[in-house]
Structures are given as C-alpha cells and as structure tokens.
C-alpha cells in the first residue's frame, strides 16, 4: 500500500488524500508499532533469562542421576520421575537425621506464623501510637527504633544469644520467634507509622468525638482502612522470615532448624554422591512458599519488596 502511495501520479495522490480520515473521536489503536515490538521483545528475553534456571531445576529434579551425568541440562527428562521429590520431602538426610525436608517445613511454619503475627501486631500498634498519640519523647523513641534498622544484625548476635539464654529460651522455637519479632520492629513500625500518618487526623478526631478510645479507633476505624498496608507487612514478613537462615541456625536448636537450614544441610553434604535431582527438588520446595505468595498476592508483593528494600 505504501509503495502505491509513493508513486507520485496526481490521481494516486488525491486518492490517498481522500482515504486519510480527518482525526475525530478516539484515536485508533495501533497494536504493532515499533516501540511495542521492541518493548515486548526485551520483556520476552528478560523473562526467558530469568526462567531458564528454574526450567533447568525442574528438569533436573525429574531426571535420574545417570541421565544428569550426561550433561544435557536443557534437555527434558527421558523418563519423568517424581521419586526425588518424594525423597527430598520425606527421607533426604540432613546430618544425622534422614526424615527429609518436611521436618524443616513444619519448623518454618511454626517459626513464621507466630513471628509474623506478633511482629505485625506490635509494630502496627507502635506505628499507630507514634503517628497519632504523640507523647513526650515519642520522636526520640522513634529515632532510636529506626536507628536500630541501620545496625548490622551480626553485631547483635552475641548479645542476643546471652539474652535468650538468660530468658531460658535459647535453642527453642520461641527464641527464633522472639528474635524475628524484634528485628521486624524497626522497619514495620516505620511502615505503619508512615501509612497511618497519611490518614487524615480529622478522622481520628471525629472518632474521638464519637466516643471511640485508643483501641476503639485502632480496631474499628484504622484497621479496616489499612488492609493494604497489613497485606504488605504480612508478605514482607513471611518472605523475610521464611528465607532467614542466620537466626534459624543460631537460635532454633538442632531439632527446630527451619527449612532453609535443612536445605543447606542437604545440598552442602560433603560425603557420598551429590544427588543433584534431590537437591533441585529440595530447593524448589523451599522456595515454593515465597513463590506461591508472589503468585497469589501480585501487586502487594511488589510493594512489600519495595518497602523491604530499606531493610538491606
């Protein structure tokens, strides 16, 4: 068509003019302009780049060891088998115990659920008080709290070991929950304080005139308005605590190792055959929880990650 249009006979030119329409109404959408093509190709390449390792992991986890040794990591398995997944879950050896990842999974659940609930419960009340019920020294209090998030965790490990020992909880699930709750405090308080501070103060004044007190306002007015920020906090905490390795290793005690620690023990054994298929299956299983949360919560997850980026 464009070839025809460029032939400069007068009749053709007028014909083209007649065909081109006066702009009016909504602009016609062009689905295939060059910008879009480039955009989608870049996105496609990026997606492939990041999906490839996952693909290799899934494929490897379904192959037998002889097939893996052939070295064709991209080729699909000749014979699909899920026995390595079963082994990873049920009977892979971590150190002396051969009960698989399921022990670690349940430990992780037992650590994550109370830690998430406690840290969010405390931090949201903190943020609420710091944003709307200022007391003398509340700014100083807040500054100290935020300062806490700039201190590297490693510095506090030894004192925390002593503290948990003195509390008599060292080497138990409560110790890990305790530590996670404490370390969640600065960033979560900041998150909640900033969110609550953005709500109109007149709303709280109105609620006070209507006879709601500190807790009444919090539970009846603020929480129903703040579902998004609670979602963000939950996602941030679940992914953060689930992926934690350090505190789990130190505070939980051998029987209570979370999934990440168990995974490390499975993958990093120095004895016997390296079972790549079992390792891959274990890794996917461990990563499945944050992955599922990502898929299920979509936009909240991105916000959670962005908010957690301050965490460092």
């Amino acid at each position: 068509m464009s070839v025809l249009a460029y032939e400069s006979t007068p009749e053709k030119a007028t014909a083209k003019k007649a065909r081109s329409v006066e702009p009016s109404g909504s602009r016609p959408t062009r689905y295939l302009d060059p910008g879009r093509i480039i955009l989608y190709s870049v996105l496609f390449v990026a997606a492939v780049y990041y999906l490839l390792p996952l693909y290799v992991m899934v494929m490897t986890s379904m192959k037998g060891l002889p097939e893996i040794r052939m070295g064709n990591i991209f080729s699909p398995p000749m014979e699909i088998t899920f026995q390595h997944w079963v082994k990873a879950w049920d009977s892979a050896c971590t150190g002396l115990y051969c009960e698989g990842l399921k022990v670690g999974f349940w430990n992780s659940v037992k650590i994550t659920v109370p830690s998430v609930i406690m840290s969010i419960a405390i931090a949201s009340v903190n943020g609420y008080a710091l944003s709307h019920w200022r007391f003398k020294g509340s700014e100083v209090f807040f500054t100290i709290l935020i300062f806490g998030s700039f201190i590297p965790y490693q510095v506090m490990l030894y004192p925390l070991v002593i503290i948990t020992r003195e509390l008599g909880i060292f080497g138990s699930l409560s110790a890990v929950v305790f530590v996670h709750t404490i370390f969640g405090m600065p960033i979560l308080t900041l998150l909640f304080r900033n969110y609550f501070a953005s709500l109109p103060p007149e709303l709280l004044s109105a609620a006070r005139v209507d006879g709601a007190g500190f807790w009444g306002i919090f539970f009846k007015i603020l929480i129903p308005m703040s579902v998004p920020i609670f979602m963000v906090a939950v996602i941030m905490q679940i992914t953060g605590i689930w992926n934690d390795f350090l505190f789990g290793t130190i505070f939980a005690g051998i029987k209570n190792f979370p999934m990440t620690v168990q995974l490390n023990n499975i993958v990093n054994t120095t004895q016997g055959v390296k079972e790549y298929n079992v390792n891959m299956a274990s890794t996917i299983l461990t990563g499945a929880v944050p992955l599922c949360i990502y898929v299920l919560s979509g936009k909240y997850f991105v916000r959670g990650i962005a908010a957690g980026a301050v965490k460092g």
Binding site: P200, E202, L203, S205, A206, A207, R208, V209, D210, G211, A212, G216, K220, I221, P224, M225
Partner: protein, 361 residues
C-alpha cells in the same frame, strides 16, 4: 444563661503561644462565628472546646459544667469537619450510628434518631451507600447528620463548607441556618469567609494572633469595626482608606491633601485628639454618585480608571485626592474608562482609625 464559658484560656505548643488569656461567653442557642485568616487560632480554639486539644491554662465550661479535663465524647458536643472525616469503610448508616453504638444507645433509639436526622437532612435514600459513592455536598450532609444524631447541646463546625464549590456552599449555608432555627442549639462555626460569617452569625468573634479582636453582631462589626484590620476584612468589596490628618475640637474635620471633610456628627470612641495622622475608612457601597452626590457633605469629581461589572452592581476604581478609591455603583450604569464621575459620601458615617495604632477613633 450561658451555654459555653471560656475562662482565661491559654494554649502553648512549646515556646509558641497560640492562644493567650482568651475569655468568651456564648449564650444559649446562639450562633457564634469564629472568623479570621488562616493561622489566627480559630480552629485551635474550636478544637480546645471540643476537647481534642489539651489546654495549657484556663477552663472551659459547657452548660455550667467544667469540662476542662473531660474527653470529647463526654462534653455533649457534635462536630463537623472541613474534610467531612467520614469513616470510609462504613455505610452512611454506619457512620451515623458509630457514636451511638459506642455510647451504648439501644438499637431502637439509634434507628429512631437516624431516621429523624436523615429526614431532616434529606439523606434517607443514601443510608446504605459508602461515603466514596457520595458527592461533596452529600458527604457534608452526612457529616452534619453524624453530629445531629448525638443530640448534642453544642454543635461545632470547623470550616464545613470550604471544600465545596461556590453554589453548593451558598445552598448548604442556608440549610445550616435553617437547621439552627429549627433546633435552637448553640452553634460555634469557624470560617475564614466573611460572607459566611455575616450571613450566619448572631455574633461574630474576629480573631487575630490568638486573640479575639472584636466580638459583636454582624451589623456592628460592619458599621463600627474596632480597628483597621477588621474594617478591611469585613465587607466586600473592601473598605477604602484615605490617609490624612484629623483635626479635633468642636468642629472636627479631616484633611486629605487640600480637601477638607467635615466630621460633624461622627461618634468618636474616646477623647478626640487635637491633631493626629489617621485613616478615613469609607465603604464603596456608601458612596453615592450624580445628583445625590452633589447634595452630600463631601463631594468630589473623579475620573473613572477601571470598571469591573459584576452584574448586580459595578465596581469603579478611581483616585480621590491622589489615593485609590473604589466606588460601587448600580450594575446598569454605563460608565466608561475616562468618564468623570461626581461622588459623595457622609464622613460622619465613615470610620476613623489612628495611623499608628490602627485603632478606631
């Protein structure tokens, strides 16, 4: 009987004194407007009365009860906010009933009060909607309804109409006035809009710098402002000020350049100074033109500089004795720039302010 008594109220935020030794008595059933430009402390005072801010000094009595240390809910007040402050997750019905539920009012009584308030404000058909699905005017009605169902002694309005567009503002203004006439409650209304203040108030308290500068009925505020600030603030278009020399004595007169304005009959507020620099304040709407002007005590010929037609009337900008002077004339007059206009006014009906203190003379 006084509905609200404010005694020696003071409020400080650290070093900053927001309200200083403030005394105010509000009568039963009175509509009092707190008027002032932003930052004058009028909303702060209202929040103190509501109990949302802790006083540094002084007392607040509502219905002869000292409520200085009481929570807002126990003061017998209902409050309406500028930003409506409706609870977004609750329906209109939920918003109206929230306070009553907190107070433990029985269900049947809640229903009764809601239906009464919603009928009065014509929001019956909106009861099951969420605030997000309401227009600005409807939201403010609901906010007023929330104050109404509380059966409060005193209603507090914190610039309730400032977020609405001009037409709605005038509509709701009348409605608030009707509501006051119907309920007869004491109402305190904060605004920076002098027209709202003039139209609604029984008395207006003009505030400036944390103090009440003048507390008077609208007409008095308009006719006898106590200082130049209020004179310029009240009334639209604003008052003209001519700077000149006041000569006292038995026959006081005012000199601007070489023109003399006799002040026979002017009611001085205190002793008349022998000779003092002063401002003569003349309202644009008190200036007469044409034949009427010739008959008045002080009349001059001036040249029209700018004409601002506003439909109902027209504002003419001129120079009188070398100083800017605005004149309000009939909207049908066909004055053009450059025309000569005969103007006149009665200096004894004008206002005189001291040039330094800016207080009324």
């Amino acid at each position: 009987m006084n509905s609200i008594e404010i005694k020696k109220l003071g409020l400080r935020f650290g070093e900053v004194e927001v309200l200083k030794n403030l005394n105010l008595d509000i009568h039963d059933g009175e509509f009092l407007v707190l008027l002032g430009s932003s930052g004058c402390g009028k909303s702060t005072l209202l929040n103190c009365i509501a109990g949302l801010l802790e006083l540094s000094e002084g007392q607040i009595h509502i219905k002869d009860r000292n409520v200085t240390w009481e929570e807002p809910k126990d003061r017998g007040i209902g409050m309406v906010f500028q930003s409506y402050a409706l609870y977004p997750q609750m329906s209109v019905r939920g918003n109206l009933s929230f306070g009553l539920k907190n107070a433990g009012v029985p269900k049947a009584e809640i229903e009764k009060r809601i239906s009464k308030a919603s009928e009065m404000l014509q929001i019956e058909q909106l009861l099951d909607r969420k605030p997000a699905a309401l227009s600005g005017g409807q939201r403010q009605r609901v906010a007023i309804g929330r104050a109404l169902v509380r059966d409060a002694e005193v209603f507090l309005f914190d610039e309730p109409l400032s977020n609405l567009d001009a037409k709605l503002r005038t509509d709701l203004r009348v409605e608030i006035k009707r509501l006051h006439q119907r309920l007869g409650n004491t109402m305190i209304y904060v605004t920076h809009d002098q027209i709202e203040a003039m139209t609604l108030a029984d008395r207006i308290a003009v505030m400036r710098g944390g103090k009440i500068v003048q507390l008077a009925p609208p007409t008095e505020l308009y006719n006898k402002p106590v200082n130049k600030y209020i004179a310029g603030f009240i009334g639209s278009p604003a008052m003209n000020f001519l700077k000149g020399i006041l000569h006292g004595g038995d026959q006081p007169y005012f000199i601007v350049e070489d023109s003399k304005f006799p002040l026979n009959g002017y009611e001085f507020d205190g002793p008349v100074p022998e000779e003092a620099e002063a401002y003569l304040g003349v309202r644009p709407e008190h200036v007469v033109i044409g034949a009427e002007a010739e008959a008045s005590v002080a009349h001059h010929s001036v040249e029209v500089e700018v004409v601002e037609p506003m439909g109902s009337d027209t504002l003419v900008w001129t120079q009188l004795c070398g100083q800017h002077f605005r004149v309000r004339v009939d909207g049908q007059s066909e004055l053009k720039v450059g025309d000569t206009l005969e103007i006149g006014f009665d200096p004894s009906k004008a206002s005189l302010f001291h040039a330094q203190t800016e207080e009324r003379l």
